[in-house]
């Protein structure tokens, strides 16, 4: 029997549990296969036992081999540094499964996704509206992630039904998808009674490009370039999560030097994005000097990226089996020299913000997301940490992050969950990242191997990395030739957008941009 403690844990809560199989293909991944009638209760037991939200719930079309669809649901066990993936078969003549959404809120978005992409119905779900394939432009009955989908067939179009808030003096303010600033597309519908927002419904999907389908059939090296374009400001985190999935399947152990280099680039990406968001928060309360100051720091880091890796957004740095850009002595010296200026400027920026009473007044207690709400919604990453949830894959998953443990990585959390808390977490993480980069740079040695040529194998695995927004997950299934059969991507933005809808409640619309920037979410990452 593999993993008896996991089975015992499930049985403890769900005594009738019976698994078709339990496997441990990788030390950090447990796979539990169950019959359809046990799926829901097994998931609920894991959700309760591990106090983990649904990390990812997705389907894949295996009709070619087994004449069935497979639905997988992954939970994370932070203490054991393991992912538990429950799966079941769904046959073509009974395309449904029992919905988890009423019991686990974080499953809701994923179920809607399965419904629109595969046509597998989550029975009993309170909300089956389509997420990304907008009813106004995309005909019903087309399921793009099915393998036999070739082109769009004509069908009925309809309108999207927004949740209505009714009452005397309640009115709606629709905003988007085209916004006033230089920002991505999304539609926000506020219901307000007087000044305060009493409901916000976010309608996304405007940046949907069908990325998951594009991955299918590509070889891993080509697909790595596509992973960099999923979310442009997190291109390194995405390519890293993807590369790790491939390396896991192929059993590749990358050289130590490459681990350090990946950690350095990952932290550089975190730094330029954090400082960018801090500046954007200042800008959204009309405090333009620190905003300009922050953009100068961001530019300094982007230019540093360009000099180190010949790409401002760290594209084409990762490869399957390591990295392709090494840091030699002059580059290391340049990195450490520029860091002196960057750190000094950043401290000045923080001082300017903290010494402005009016700025602090605007951010303090604004847009609070309480811990209970955050946990209930399954919010992840930086936003969860700002609401007091101490989850950071860098702390708990030492597989890639042994180097983080070695460098005594300190997780940053705040309790209050407001804009100020998110600002403080960003400041703490920026400082921690700059310390880590300096420490990792000191560990690099010249002339060491930075990548190995992998022997690609067929199989499936979950790749994951703590990007700057939170955990980026790549579920990857490849065939024997190394071509991709299914790629499921979860960007933290996908789950965190719902957190924003709750954080703004009771705040006034003029504070919405501030709340939005403090979340700093990606439209393209969530919409795929």
């Amino acid at each position: 029997m593999v993993c008896p403690e996991v089975v015992a844990g499930i049985k403890n809560i769900f005594p009738a549990f019976e698994a078709l199989s339990v496997a441990l293909p990788y030390p950090d991944e447990i796979r539990v296969k169950v019959a359809r009638q046990f799926f829901k209760d097994t998931c609920l037991a894991l959700h309760k036992g591990l106090s983990s939200p649904v990390a990812v719930l997705f389907a894949s079309d295996e009709r070619k081999d087994t004449a069935k669809f497979v639905v997988n649901c992954a939970f994370v066990n932070l203490k054991k540094s393991q992912w538990v993936i429950v799966s079941m078969d769904v046959s073509e003549d009974a395309l449904y499964f029992d919905s988890l959404a009423k019991n686990i809120h974080s499953a809701s978005l994923f179920e809607r996704e399965i419904w629109e992409m595969f046509g597998i119905e989550p029975k009993g779900s309170p909300d089956l509206r389509r997420l990304r394939l907008h009813d106004e432009v995309y005909p019903k009955g087309n399921y793009p992630l099915r393998k036999d989908f070739r082109q769009i067939q004509a069908g009925n179009l309809s309108d999207y039904k927004f949740n209505k808030v009714e009452g005397t003096g309640v009115f709606e303010v629709p905003v988007g998808p085209v916004h006033a600033g230089i920002i991505g597309p999304g539609h926000f519908r506020f219901s307000v009674a007087g000044e305060p927002i009493i409901n916000l419904e976010t309608r996304l999907g405007f940046a949907h490009r069908g990325v998951e389908k594009l991955f299918e059939g590509r070889n891993c090296f080509e697909a790595l370039r596509l992973a960099e374009c999923v979310s442009g400001d997190a291109s390194f985190a995405h390519s890293l999560a993807f590369a790790q999935a491939v390396e896991k399947i192929s059993g590749v152990l990358i050289p130590k030097q490459a681990v350090y280099l990946r950690a350095i680039f990952l932290e550089l990406e975190r730094m330029y994005n954090h400082v960018n968001d801090i500046g954007a928060m200042a800008l959204d309360v009309g405090f333009s000097f620190p905003s300009a100051y922050a953009s100068v720091i961001k530019e300094a880091i982007l230019q540093l990226n360009d000099k180190l890796a010949a790409s401002r957004y760290l594209k084409q740095v990762n490869t399957v089996g390591g990295v392709v850009k090494d840091l030699d002595e002059p580059k290391k010296k340049m990195l450490l020299d520029s860091f002196k200026g960057i750190k000094h400027d950043f401290n000045e920026l923080v001082n300017i913000l903290y010494s402005s009473v009016s700025f602090m007044d605007r951010v303090d207690t604004t847009g609070a997301l309480r811990r209970k709400t955050a946990e209930g919604l399954g919010v992840v990453g930086l936003i969860a940490r700002s609401s007091g949830v101490p989850a950071d894959l860098r702390e708990y998953f030492p597989a890639f992050s042994a180097v983080y443990k070695e460098a005594k990585f300190k997780i940053a959390t705040e309790e209050s969950g407001d804009v100020l808390a998110r600002l403080k977490v960003r400041i703490a993480e920026f400082k921690e990242s700059s310390r880590l980069v300096e420490e990792f740079t000191g560990k690099l040695a010249e002339g060491r191997q930075i990548n190995i040529h992998p022997e690609l194998k067929g199989g499936s695995a979950l790749g994951y990395v703590e990007g700057w927004r939170g955990p980026v997950l790549y579920w990857l299934a490849t065939d024997a030739a190394g071509l991709i059969r299914r790629c499921k991507i979860v960007d933290p933005s996908f789950l965190n957008w719902q957190g924003l809808s709750y954080a703004v409640l009771g705040n006034i619309i003029p504070d919405f941009p501030l709340c939005n920037k403090s979340f700093g979410l990606s439209y393209s990452g969530g919409d795929l």
Partner: protein
């Protein structure tokens, strides 16, 4: 306040001196536009930005082009909040099906004379998303496009050089 002033003085002037390096690809288009702008826009160009489903990198670089280092505004180019105030529409992304209506409506609400600039490889032909079931691809098939800024993403310098071509005499 004193802190802001001190930092302002210590930092000094950060803006870079930028020379428009004309590349063969964009020159013919740029020359045509240059005369248009001089005639119709009195050398001040107002741009409305629209993201039709880009990954966010182009967007980040367009914001960077407005930072104190590149400071696009000093050349008379400013980004405006409404299409009704705009001379040009700057489009990024491969045009997701969901954005098609918004893209057309935004263009329609701009006053004449107007033109469209596309930015980034996706906007040219779908770029890395070519062949997807959910993109319309090439902006030029939807709207008359006057200029394309290539790159994935184009750097702020690339963007400024492309724009400067039709603002300089």
């Amino acid at each position: 306040m004193l802190q802001i002033l001190r930092n302002r003085i210590l930092k000094g002037l950060l803006s870079r001196h930028i020379e428009p390096g004309l590349t063969g690809k964009i020159e013919p288009l740029g020359l045509e536009l240059k005369s248009l702008i001089q005639k119709k826009f009195s050398r001040s160009l107002h741009i409305r930005y629209l993201d039709s489903g880009s990954c966010g990198a182009c967007e980040s670089e367009i914001i960077s082009a407005n930072n104190p280092i590149y400071d696009l505004q000093r050349f008379g180019v400013s980004f405006v909040a409404s299409p009704r105030h705009a001379d040009a529409l700057l489009v990024t992304g491969p045009v997701s099906k969901n954005m098609l209506i918004a893209l057309k409506k935004t263009y329609d609400s701009m006053p004449e004379a107007k033109f469209v600039i596309t930015c980034g490889d996706c906007a040219l032909d779908g770029g890395p998303f070519k062949g997807s079931y959910y993109i319309e691809g090439a902006v030029k098939n939807i709207l008359p496009t006057a200029l394309h800024i290539p790159g994935c993403p184009p750097s702020p310098l690339d963007i400024i050089q492309a724009l400067l071509m039709f603002l300089r005499k």
